[in-house]
C-alpha cells in the first residue's frame, strides 16, 4: 500500500499543484469581491497562502519511501561516477567476473554431483550394500550374499540386485544390429527405485526365477529411437542376440540410471547358487526410522551368520555394511571437488584484494570530491553507503558476467575432459544453472562486494576535511594508513597466489610424471572394440573359442592389420581379482596364497599389445580345451611370490574359495611377461595372471559373458582410425552378424585413463595463472601509484645528486620487500595447504622440493618484472618538471 502510494506520487503531485492553483484562484476571487484591484487580489492571495512548494514538498515526502529514494539516488550517482572512469570499471568488473566465474564453475559441478538429491523418490532411505574389510569397502554381490541381505527384513523394506549393463546385448532382428546396454535386475528393482511406467508392467517374481522366460522392459529412449514410440510395443517380441523376447513394459521418461541403461532383463537367479564371484551390486531401502548405524549393526550379525554358512568365503576381518546410495555413486570425487572449491576460494580472495586495491587508489583520487560532499553535510554513513553501493554494483555486474563465464567455461572444460565424474551426464550436460547455482553466485557476489568495498569505504570516510580541502589536488596522495592497507593487500595477494601456483605446479608435475609412465605396452596403432556375447551359443567355452578363432583368422586378412587379440579386459582396465594357491606351498591360516588380476586372453594378446615376454613361452593357438592347462604371470607376481624360486617350476590353482564356477584343475606356469599398469597409470602394477580363454571352464565363460563383453584389439600398420569400417565388417561376418561398439584407439583410452588428473591439473593451472596475473597487476599497481605520488620527492633526490640507478633500486627494493614477504608467508601457507593435495599427487610428496623452490622463484620473477616498469619510470623523472609538478 505504501508502495502504491510511492509509485503514484508523481501524478498526485501534479494534481496537488493544480489544486493549489485552484485555491489561489478562489482566494483571488474572494479578494476581488472585497473590492481589491486584480493585482492586489492576487498579491494578497499569494501572501496568505505562502510558498506553494511547502505543502507540495510535505505531501511528496509523506508519499516517499526514504530507503528506496536513497538507494535509487546512490545507484544513479554510482553509475554516473563509474561511467566516468570506464578503464577502472572494466578492469574491476573483469577481475571480479573471473573470480566469481571460477567459483560458479566449480560450484555448478559440486551442485550437480554432490548436492542435488538423487532423482528417485525418498532418496535418503536408499542405501548401497557394501563389503567391508581392512582395505576399505566396496560394492559387489553374489547370490549367497544377496540371499542373506534379502532376509534382513528388520532393517530393509526392499532389496534389489542389479548390474551395470557392462556386457551389453545385441539388439538384432533388423538390418542394423545394435549393441545396447542391458541392465539385469531382480524383480524388486523398479519399485525400489520408484521407476515410472510409460506402458505395460514390470517383471513378476515368476518371470525373475529360472526358466521365467524371455521378457524385457524397455527404456523410454530406446522405445522412441528404435521402435518409434508405438503404443502397441507391449506384447510384441523383439530380438536380442537372435532370441525372441516379449516386451512387457516401457519405463517412463526421466528415469535416470548411472550408468545409462537401454533395457532391463530379469536376473532369473538360481537362488541355490553358491558362486562367490561378485558380478552385480545390491541396493536397498531402509525401513522408516532405521538409521545407518542400526543397519550396519544388524549386517554385522548377518556377516557372522554368512561366515558360518559358507566356510572360507568371508575373511575374519571382512563383513557387510551400508552407505547411502548417493555417497556410493559420488564415491571419491567429493574430496577432489572440495579441494577445487578451496582453490577457487583463494582465487576469489585474490580478486577481492585486487579490487580493494583499485578502490583505494580511486578513493584517494576522489578524496576532494568526498571531502566536499562531507563538507556539504553528507554524513559518514552516507559516504560509506555510497561507496559500498559502488562496490556492490561492481560485484553484482561482475557476478552476472562470472555466471555466464563460469557456466560456459565448465561446459567447455567437461567436454574436453569429463574427469570421470559421476552424475554429470554426457559431456557434462547435466551441469546446469539451477536455483542453487544462482543463489550461490548472488550470495558470493554480495559478500565479495562487501568484502572488497568495506575497507576502502571506511578508510575513505575517515579523513580530515580541512586538511584535504586545503591540500592541492595533485599532492593529495596516499595517507600513511591507506598506504599500509594497500601493502598488506599486496602481500596477501602474493601469498595466496603462491599457494595456488604451488598447488598447480604439483598437479602439473603429477600429470607430466603420469604421462611419462611406461604403461608396459605399446599404445600406438592399436584399435579396440567390444562385442557383446550374451547369446546362448556363448554359454560354453567352445562357442567363444570358435568365434575367437574365426574372428582372428578373418581380421588377420584385413589389409593393415598385423596382429589380433581377443580378451576379457583391455590393459589399463580393472581386471577381475581372483585368489590363487601355489600348489604345494603351505598357506597357513590364510584362505589362499594370494590374489591377483585375472585376464582371460587369446594367444595374440601379448603380440598385439607388444607386452614383452621375459621368460618361458607365450600362449599359442593350441593352448585350447583339449591341451593341458597353462597360465602366464607378470613380473610383479613373479617378484612378489617367487622372490627366490622359479615360477616356471610351479603350478597355480586359481579361484580358490570362489565356489564351484571357478573350480578347475591346477595350471602350469609357462611364461612371465612384463608388467602393465592395469589399475591406472598412477598405480604400481598388480600381480596378474593370464589364462587362455579357450581353456576357461564353461560355467566361468557363461558368467563372464553376462558380466562383460568380449574385447577385440588389432595392431595396425596404418592409422588405426582408417580401419574402423573393415575391422567392424570383418568381425560381423566372422561372428554371424554381431555388431561391435565402444570403438577407440588405445591412445584414446590412455587419455581417458588420466582424464581426472588432466581435469584437476587444467583447473588448478587456470586458477594459478589467473592468481599470478592478478597478483602481478596488484604489485604493479601499487608501485606505479607510489612512484607517481612521489614524483616530487624523487625529483628533489635527483636534484640533490641521486643516481638514476639508486632511485631505481630504491623503488625495486621497496616493491620486492612486499613481494618477498608475501612469498615467505605463501610458502608457509603452502606447507600446510598442500597436504590436502597429497592424495592427488603421483610420484612425489606434497612437499616436493622442485615445486617449493621453482614456484617462489617464478613468482618473485614475475613480481620483479611488475615492479621494474614503475621503477624505470621513476628514473625518468625530470627534476625540473617534477619540482614544478604542483
Amino acid at each position: 500500500m505504501n508502495f502504491e502510494r510511492f509509485m503514484d506520487r508523481k501524478r498526485k503531485d501534479e494534481e496537488l499543484a493544480e489544486e493549489i492553483h485552484s485555491h489561489l484562484a478562489h482566494e483571488q476571487d474572494a479578494n476581488a469581491a472585497r473590492g481589491l484591484s486584480p493585482e492586489e487580489a492576487r498579491r494578497q492571495a499569494n501572501l496568505k497562502f505562502g510558498n506553494p512548494r511547502g505543502p507540495r514538498e510535505r505531501v511528496w515526502r509523506y508519499r516517499s519511501l526514504p530507503w528506496v529514494e536513497d538507494a535509487w539516488r546512490d545507484l544513479r550517482f554510482v553509475l554516473r561516477s563509474l561511467g566516468k572512469t570506464p578503464g577502472f570499471t572494466a578492469i574491476a568488473i573483469l577481475v571480479i567476473a573471473v573470480g566469481i566465474g571460477v567459483n560458479t564453475a566449480v560450484f555448478s559441478v559440486i551442485n550437480t554431483v554432490l548436492l542435488k538429491p538423487l532423482t528417485y523418490p525418498d532418496p535418503q532411505s536408499l542405501v548401497q550394500l557394501m563389503n567391508t574389510g581392512p582395505q576399505g569397502s566396496f560394492p559387489g554381490a553374489n547370490v549367497p550374499k544377496f540371499n542373506i541381505w534379502h532376509q534382513q527384513s528388520g532393517i530393509f523394506q526392499q532389496v534389489s540386485g542389479y548390474d551395470w549393463g557392462g556386457a551389453g546385448t545385441n539388439l538384432t532382428g533388423g538390418d542394423n544390429p545394435e549393441q545396447v546396454q542391458a541392465i539385469h535386475v531382480t524383480a524388486g528393482y523398479f519399485s525400489l527405485f520408484g521407476a515410472p511406467l510409460a506402458a505395460g508392467r514390470t517383471f513378476t517374481t515368476a518371470e525373475d526365477s529360472p526358466n521365467g522366460g524371455h521378457v524385457v522392459v524397455l527404456s523410454y529412449e530406446l522405445w522412441q529411437s528404435r521402435f518409434g514410440g508405438k503404443p502397441d510395443i507391449v506384447g510384441r517380441t523383439i530380438q536380442l542376440d537372435g532370441q525372441p523376447y516379449l516386451v512387457v513394459g516401457v519405463i517412463g521418461r526421466g528415469f535416470v540410471t548411472e550408468p545409462v541403461g537401454d533395457l532391463w532383463l530379469p536376473f532369473q537367479f538360481d537362488l541355490a547358487s553358491r558362486d562367490m564371484a561378485h558380478y552385480f551390486t545390491v541396493a536397498a531401502r531402509l525401513k522408516p526410522g532405521i538409521t545407518l548405524p542400526q543397519a550396519n549393526a544388524q549386517l554385522n550379525l548377518a556377516a557372522d551368520q554368512f561366515r558360518r554358512t559358507y566356510a572360507g568365503a568371508l575373511g575374519p576381518q571382512e563383513g557387510f555394511g551400508v552407505v547411502s546410495l548417493q555417497e556410493s555413486i559420488v564415491g571419491d570425487t567429493r574430496s577432489s571437488l572440495l579441494v577445487l572449491l578451496g582453490a577457487v576460494g583463494l582465487v576469489l580472495l585474490i580478486a577481492c584484494a585486487n579490487v580493494a586495491n583499485l578502490l583505494l587508489v580511486r578513493a584517494s583520487a576522489r578524496k576532494r570530491e568526498l571531502a566536499t560532499r562531507a563538507a556539504l553535510g553528507a554524513g559518514r554513513w552516507q559516504i560509506v553507503r555510497q561507496l559500498l553501493c559502488e562496490s556492490l554494483v561492481l560485484s553484482l555486474t561482475g557476478g552476472f558476467l562470472g555466471l555466464a563465464l563460469g557456466v560456459a567455461g565448465v561446459r567447455l572444460l567437461l567436454s574436453i575432459s569429463p574427469a570421470g565424474l559421476p552424475r554429470i551426464g554426457e559431456n557434462g550436460s547435466a551441469v546446469t544453472i539451477d536455483g542453487n547455482v544462482l543463489l550461490f553466485t548472488f550470495v558470493v557476489s554480495v559478500i565479495t562486494g562487501i568484502l572488497f568495498g568495506i575497507v576502502p569505504a571506511i578508510s575513505a570516510s575517515r579523513q580530515n576535511l580541512a586538511a584535504t580541502l586545503n591540500e592541492s589536488s595533485s599532492r593529495s596522495g596516499l595517507g600513511f594508513r591507506s598506504g599500509k592497507i594497500r601493502s598488506i593487500l599486496v602481500i596477501s595477494e602474493m601469498a595466496l597466489a603462491l599457494v595456488l601456483v604451488i598447488g598447480a605446479a604439483l598437479l602439473i608435475r603429477t600429470f607430466v610424471k603420469l604421462q611419462a609412465v611406461d604403461p608396459g605396452f605399446d599404445t600406438n596403432n592399436v584399435l579396440t572394440m567390444s562385442m557383446s556375447i550374451s547369446g546362448d551359443r556363448f554359454q560354453k567355452t567352445a562357442g567363444v573359442a570358435q568365434v575367437i578363432r574365426d574372428g582372428t583368422e578373418r581380421l588377420n586378412t584385413v589389409p593393415g592389420v598385423t596382429s589380433t587379440a581377443a580378451t576379457c579386459c583391455l590393459p589399463l582396465h580393472n581386471a577381475f581379482g581372483v585368489p590363487f594357491d601355489i600348489v604345494g606351498r603351505p598357506k597357513g591360516n590364510a584362505p589362499s596364497t594370494g590374489g591377483g588380476g585375472y585376464f582371460s586372453v587369446s594367444w595374440g594378446y601379448f603380440e598385439t599389445f607388444k607386452i614383452p615376454l621375459l621368460r618361458g613361452r607365450s600362449f599359442t593357438e593350441h593352448d585350447d580345451g583339449s591341451a593341458p592347462g597353462v597360465v602366464m604371470i607378470n613380473e610383479a607376481m613373479a617378484k612378489q611370490y617367487w622372490p627366490k624360486g622359479d615360477p616356471l617350476q610351479d603350478r597355480l590353482l586359481t579361484g580358490v574359495g570362489m565356489g564351484p564356477v571357478f573350480a578347475e584343475p591346477a595350471r602350469q606356469i609357462v611364461g612371465i611377461v612384463g608388467d602393465t599398469h592395469d589399475g591406472g597409470l598412477g598405480r604400481d602394477p598388480l600381480p596378474t595372471m593370464y589364462i587362455p580363454m579357450a581353456q576357461m571352464p564353461d560355467a566361468e565363460i557363461a558368467l563372464n559373458s553376462r558380466v562383460a563383453p568380449l574385447w577385440w584389439a588389432v595392431r595396425t600398420s596404418v592409422d588405426p582410425h582408417t580401419l574402423v569400417k573393415p575391422v567392424s565388417a570383418a568381425l560381423r561376418q566372422a561372428s554371424g552378424g554381431l555388431p561391435v561398439a565402444h570403438i577407440h584407439t588405445m591412445d584414446e583410452l590412455v587419455v581417458l585413463n588420466t582424464s581426472r588428473e588432466r581435469f584437476n591439473m587444467l583447473l588448478l593451472t587456470i586458477f594459478g595463472a589467473s592468481a599470478l596475473l592478478m597478483a602481478a597487476i596488484g604489485v604493479y599497481g601499487l608501485m606505479a601509484y607510489s612512484v607517481q605520488q612521489r614524483t616530487q620527492e624523487l625529483g628533489i633526490r635527483m636534484a640533490l645528486g641521486a643516481q638514476a640507478s639508486s632511485i631505481r633500486n630504491m623503488v625495486i627494493r621497496q616493491g620486492m620487500t612486499l613481494a618477498l614477504i608475501g612469498v615467505v608467508i605463501g610458502i608457509g601457507g603452502a606447507f600446510w595447504l598442500t597436504h590436502f593435495l597429497a592424495s592427488f599427487l603421483f610420484g612425489m610428496k606434497a612437499l616436493d622440493p622442485t615445486a617449493f623452490i621453482v614456484t617462489p622463484l617464478l613468482l618473485a620473477g614475475v613480481a620483479l618484472i611488475a615492479i621494474w616498469i614503475p621503477a624505470r619510470r621513476a628514473t625518468r623523472v625530470d627534476p625540473m618538471t617534477s619540482l614544478r609538478f604542483e
Binding site: K12, E19, H23, G379
Partner: protein, 116 residues
C-alpha cells in the same frame, strides 16, 4: 549526524485539523478553499487554517479512505477538487468528536469548571 527533522509544529493540533475538516464536510462536498473559509468563519475567525497544512491533511485523509475526491466546477465557475466524506470518514468523525469531548471535559475538570 542522522537527519532528524524537528517535530512538526502543532502535532497535537494535527488531529484537531483532521477533525475540523471532517466536520466541515458533513454539510456536503467542498473544495479546499471552501473548507478553509468555513472553518475560519464558523469559528468566528478564532481559528486560522494554515494553508500549508490544509492540503497535506486532505491528502492524508484521502489516503486513509476517510475522504473521497473528484474534480468538478466550483460556484465561481472554476475547476476545483471536491472532497466528500466517506462512510469510514463519518465513523472516524464520530469517534474523534467523542475523544475531543472527553478530553475537553477532563481539562475542564482540572481547570475547576463545574460539570453542568
Amino acid at each position: 549526524m542522522a537527519m532528524k527533522k524537528p517535530p512538526p509544529a502543532g502535532d497535537i493540533l494535527q488531529g484537531t485539523l483532521d477533525m475540523l475538516i471532517l466536520r466541515t464536510l458533513v454539510m456536503g462536498p467542498a473544495h479546499g478553499h471552501t473548507i478553509a473559509q468555513v472553518i475560519e468563519h464558523t469559528s468566528e475567525n478564532a481559528l486560522e487554517v494554515e494553508q500549508g497544512s490544509l492540503y497535506p491533511a486532505l491528502h492524508r485523509l484521502e489516503d486513509r479512505g476517510l475522504l473521497s475526491s473528484e474534480w468538478g466546477v466550483s460556484e465561481n465557475n472554476r475547476k476545483a477538487k471536491f472532497y466528500r466524506l466517506t462512510a469510514k470518514g463519518r465513523k472516524e468523525l464520530a469517534a474523534a468528536t467523542g475523544r475531543w469531548r472527553q478530553m475537553t471535559r477532563a481539562i475542564g475538570l482540572i481547570l475547576g469548571e463545574s460539570d453542568e
